[in-house]
Subunit: 199 residues, 2 copies
């Protein structure tokens, strides 16, 4: 953009908004204008919310969740089951399981999955921290809630190897037909898995 038409403040704002996932230069300009037109209702509240989040939210040193508490509210909640850890790739997966009220144990955020092709090695993930948590002795079951992809399977296999000799059961999320899903729309892999684990 010409320096003559928009000042450095607008250019800076557009540049930073354009770094959000899914926003290109054009949608960043649209978003910037949307914000400037709603200065009191949106722009300033968003600036405050971001500053507040940046100053107060940190990653839980136990499980990897984001929260203002250290350890996070999920880890501090005494009503949850200490004997089960659900292993997820990233924080939104944890949020999704919580929205579904699908689980009442503890979580562990791996920070991704192993990917030989993308160069993601075991030391890039929090696998060592997970093994240490399980060595604590209270955990009886580890549930792998990872993507049903080759990299996800490689990760499950690797972590299982690391847990060899520890008194812990490992499970995976069941694969099958999603709630409300139409058979016609599902891929063959999902259908085959759903058929195999029919009950």
């Amino acid at each position: 953009m010409s320096q003559k038409s928009a000042g450095p403040e607008i250019l800076k704002m557009i540049e930073l908004i354009g770094k959000l996932p899914g926003l290109g230069p054009r949608s960043a300009r649209r978003a910037a204008l949307h914000l400037l037109k709603r200065k009191d209702q949106l722009l300033m509240p968003l600036a405050d919310a971001l500053a507040d989040a940046g100053n107060r939210i940190e990653q839980c040193r136990t499980c990897g969740n984001y929260d203002t508490l250290q350890p996070c509210a999920v880890c501090q909640n005494t009503g949850r089951d200490d004997s089960v850890i659900c292993v997820v790739e990233d924080v939104p997966d944890l949020w999704a399981l919580e929205r579904a009220s699908a689980f009442r144990g503890r979580y562990h955020v791996l920070g991704g999955v192993l990917s030989p092709l993308d160069g993601v090695e075991p030391e890039d993930l929090t696998i060592g921290m997970l093994v240490d948590r399980i060595k604590g002795g209270e955990v009886k079951e580890v549930i792998f809630a990872l993507s049903a992809t080759l990299d996800g399977q490689i990760t499950v296999d690797y972590v299982r190897d690391q847990l060899e000799g520890l008194d812990v059961t490992t499970t995976r999320l069941a694969q099958g037909v999603p709630h409300g899903g139409e058979l016609d729309h599902l891929d063959e892999g999902t259908l085959a898995a759903a058929m195999r684990s029919r009950r």
Copy 2:
């Protein structure tokens, strides 16, 4: 999202990000996580840039552009031609024309186009301010750089009626603007060509 898994600070941030155009709840969560993972490189700089923009940028009371200067840098620039005003719907159109270096006169941001169907009336736009600027006497040509839509044409016709009796030529952007096309979507070459062959 369950209040147990994410604190109010994260929920607030996700809610506000979700109000940006083109971002739904899921992409807002992704963007929030993206920001939290890049606190120093992105989240805090964005919070600062938004606060800075909110505190310093205002709409130019002459032309409607956004800038920290009042009147804006385009209006203050003594190297530009006072005898031509280019009328645009909104600020990104002005930015697009500036990126194309297609025009060296002044601008006027209408704030939209007349739309009988959507209830946009002349008093919702800055048509009165435009007429006042032209009554100042220096302006010899008004270029309508509005979308090539029915509403755009209705707006041109209406403003031309308001300029009846004033010593001013009105032109429109020429071939190059596709029928039904929006300015902000066009490449710089097309915009520059359309500006050259205005009639």
